[in-house]
Symmetry: C2
Subunit: 209 residues, 2 copies
């Protein structure tokens, strides 16, 4: 099975080589990630791609994740701090446009979104949005692996610094997780040869009959 | 690209047929999901597979998600409410066993886990664990689609009822998201033919040069 093979091939790369990702491969990874499912389809997060090395060095300063600066490209997944009526209205218009139907045909769906999402505290909606971003990160990892592009998902970064250097606040976004992309430095990365460790299936899964 | 094709094929199935998933396909989906990356590799969540129809009917009672009862199998993703020293010690032993190295060789890694995870409030660790479960959900969706198994990720269920009926509390788990698996009822599900709507890539992604 392709996805199993690809997931076995990948690992959290610790050291990248100088080889750059092609713009074609980058676009495929982004296209796949954009196809990820999200609750109600709202896609309440965005991806920021950082290629510039000087900026990646600034982002990575003081972090234990050398991959921020060393990789080919850094993808920052950022979730909306608040979900607003405007988000929902833009989404409804977009569906109507894409499907060639009048917005009125989506009135019930719109009411469900407005009634279900807007009364929740902003922090709850942010947390919900962040979870959707993680789902998409799962897609990105598989897409990269299918192209034999190496990757490192990273949480331990200074989100405030990221938000500030990437001007996320003014877009209503907050960084939640990031993904370094590139090619493993086989000689320099001892982790490349380590056996992948996962739970046994019987520890991971339980069956209720 | 395989993952793009598979993601385009899938949709959130609203109505399932009576066809059951084979145990081989179910196992492949679970195996792929277990290969998902997780922060520090800890895999702080579990999957509960519910096949029994009577139990799925109870779980779905009063929910707008008919798929809980109608699908072939229900996968419940549940995250640990607390991360404990025992979780970390079990994990460290498991790595040592799998890689055939002494636990002492992992002392620094263990210290980093203990120092990084245990001082955080339980609620923060639960939220972190839930995010890892969503990443794995992203894998499960792709694995199912590769096998042409239909799926519906679902959030809007009564988590307290799920936790109680599935005896999750006694395992220290709390349900966070679930996934119905089966086969679409093409005649009965109008959503099967709807155009998939996603953001344009230029709205979803921004490039910082």
């Amino acid at each position: 099975m392709k996805v199993i093979e690809n997931l076995k091939w990948r690992y959290a790369t610790k050291k990248f080589s100088d080889r750059k990702l092609s713009s074609e491969d980058l676009e495929k990874i982004l296209e796949a990630t954009n196809l990820s499912a999200s609750s109600t389809g709202l896609q309440p997060y965005r991806i920021i791609v950082v290629e510039d090395t000087a900026l990646r060095e600034k982002l990575g300063e003081g972090s234990f994740n050398g991959q921020i600066a060393q990789s080919s490209h850094l993808l920052v997944f950022a979730a909306f701090e608040k979900i607003t009526l405007e988000h929902i209205e833009t989404y409804i218009s977009h569906i109507a446009n894409e499907r060639g139907i009048p917005e009125e045909a989506l009135a019930d769906f719109k009411s469900a979104l407005v009634g279900g999402i807007l009364p929740r505290p902003d922090e709850e909606n942010f947390s919900w949005a962040a979870r959707q971003a993680y789902l998409a990160l799962g897609t990105a990892l598989i897409a990269a692996a299918e192209l034999q592009v190496d990757s490192t998902p990273m949480e331990g970064f200074d989100t405030e610094k990221f938000d500030s250097l990437l001007n996320l606040k003014e877009k209503g976004l907050r960084s939640v997780v990031s993904l370094a992309l590139g090619y493993r430095d086989i000689e320099g990365d001892v982790f490349a040869s380590f056996k992948k460790v996962r739970l046994s299936l019987s520890d991971f899964v339980s069956f209720v009959k």
